[in-house]
Assembly symmetry: D3
Homo-oligomer: 170 residues x 6
């Protein structure tokens, strides 16, 4: 065994057998972000007072993407997700505004939901970009990373934000 | 008109009418990246000598995702893509190794392919994470951004890498 | 709690957590209908004597749609359906003919299958419309509603057909 | 030829050949509705003042469903939709409140978009049901029907609302 | 260029650029087959006299699969199919009965529809297997191959059935 | 009961109720093959020494198809697959080279995974065809059949390769 769990004896990728793993409650939280100009932020905000809502569309996209994860990521196991929640947080800086996106996913199953949380946060960010790109194509997405996971025999994971200088990222 | 092209008169999101836009050749290139420990990089590389190949799977995922973009991003128009190409570039630093991912998409159609390129690069990076996460859950994805686009009446876009301190990002 | 189960603390939609709900057998039955001219009915029927069959195609569509429900309805949980059955009933009136469609869905899971039954009946009706629309674009679909559900802690539901004047609707 | 365009020589269903049809701008508008108790209406409305919005989610669902129509309706041709717009209208009556849903779809292609408009309106209504069903499972969807279409050699269609007593339906 | 059109400069797979290819009418026909015991054949046939129909379901599956081809085959271009037709032919032999399946696909586009025809015929055969497997799990599918194609600059293709001893296969 | 498990009382297809079946570990293995000219084989092999790899793409396609089986085969139950593995074997003959494909699928569920294994092997073979068809459109796919299955109350199945003259097929 070489540490990679996705390759079979012929050195080829496989969707690894998890039928021996026990079915337990598992959670994961991932974050992404969209860096935009103040001008874009203000348009999103002022629009939000009316009925339209960039974040509302982005969040629906993120939730639907979480359910599609095993169709998007080739070696990812299909899972019956029991819950998905996405929340937003604005950080206003001098030169730019950062929209922080946090996706939390829960399942009762035989494998973790890290990929569902990461895919959900990524698609949510991509949708914000799509809806605002007429104003600014220069927006930047990410960094995107796993914040924490619980459940499963490998133990919990909690990100050290000092690593990679991510303290600033949520 | 308030600059947002995705909202209708009721202030609600819509998939905007592009039937008046002319069908021309359009291209877009987007980049993403995966930041990993040296140890993960070495495992990917040494495995590559055998038949298995993390990047091969990630790249298939990226190409398939480009074709699914309008099903993943709610207000994105369906487009018959005429070509998708993904390339990789490794940057070995002291503390970490960065895998740079570039997705190039081409169409002959009535709207641009920025979202297809961004979605393709994002899913490619997510797949690399998925295949290596047994080694390190702390890998970081992104920044993900549009590098350039051509075609369409709004003119071409070429990223200024100095903005956002992205010189280092390909 | 405001009675809506699909909104999170930020007042945004979420896919609610059902990991605490017990996995039991649950069923739901929904009905829809297609109102058509006698002429359309007769063409469907006479064709049915041959090998082609409008209802056969519509019914396959309804069954496949039941399985796609969580990809179509944003906040709907993915469920491993254990059975789907669609049946038809013709009611011939003076001015029109009504095709009644009943979709029954069963699962062993943590949430109900009302949406699967409603989506299945709706798509079945839409497919009948699609296959006959060359004859008459004026056909009318519905009303579409839940007939009954069993299983789950909220108790069973059985429609009072007197409400909304639906006695006539199956 | 027997008037059905979806059956081949063996009397079986087929996706009919449209390669001879010319590519023109085509539009279709379809309507559906959700009949609910006053109590549900009030909860939707008061919530709308906050950030959550039943209609926002329903409308995203309707737009995404329009793009999926050819995957949901078996004999429906795939089409590159150029625009989708959904609007809402409330009618408050004594005994109930009716939410009217109108889906408008546009394409530049070789066949009409009636099914895309009907599917979009139906899925929008189903999503409203899903999001409010914790309050009332007795809501009724429909009638759902084509309001008008333009483009294509068969000429335009405009519904006579007097037929089927639909004057009241928008 | 090494004869493979699906690999890029890094030796990796890509979805090749077809934006220079002209949009013309293209057709392809592919065949598959299901080899079954007489007993299975008789059950299918006698059932056909009633309203149920194994072939009706299989044929809907084949048509829907043709439309999904570019989502199933990674490097396959998305195409707006203009027509799909599936026909069946029974050959009764002493030891077994062969169901021949022919899928014909047509498009007006920039690349051929060989994969759509082959995928359609394959899925049609798989569905026949699925619906009869309770009677006999030993049924055999195929050979599956391209019968002919027309359109495109590489010229037409017509199978020599003498090759591979396929005279017997339709 | 007439031996067909997919038809309801109206003689129409249904997705049969499996809620009474127990959830056990079930496996299935299916095989397919691609018959090609020596020239195609040599190109695949020599390329394999570089980084591109026809089989790598085909295998990803096969694994992703296994997860999509219930969306492709109409009466097939959705299942949470716990593992998928695809392996290849070359047989070099005088007149042709045969690529044997074996797909193994595992689940812990209420119904078997024969269709998942057969669909996976079929799509893997179709993808090999797609990637090499620029060299030879005359390649032949199959025979495709079930090799063995375990689990479930109907007992195990192991193919007699003497039947249908399949000794030569793996």
């Amino acid at each position: 065994m070489n540490g990679f769990s996705h390759f079979n004896e012929q050195g080829r990728a496989q969707m690894v057998d998890i039928s021996e793993k026990s079915s337990t409650v598992r959670t994961a939280a991932a974050v992404s972000s969209v860096h935009m100009k103040n001008e874009v932020y203000e348009k999103i905000q002022s629009h939000d007072i009316g009925k339209g809502d960039v974040l509302a569309v982005a969040q629906v996209a993120g939730i639907m993407a979480a359910k599609q994860t095993s169709n998007i990521i080739p070696m990812c196991h299909p899972l019956s997700l029991s819950g998905v929640d996405i929340s937003f947080d604005w950080k206003i800086k001098e030169a730019e505004v950062i929209l922080h996106i946090k996706a939390q996913v829960k399942t009762k199953g035989s494998t973790g939901v890290e990929m569902e949380a990461l895919t959900s946060a990524s698609v949510c960010a991509l949708t914000v970009y799509d809806m605002c790109k007429a104003l600014d194509k220069g927006m930047v997405i990410g960094p995107t990373f796993l914040l924490e996971k619980t459940g499963g025999k490998n133990g919990d994971f909690k990100r050290e934000l000092s690593e990679y200088n991510l303290e600033d990222q949520k």
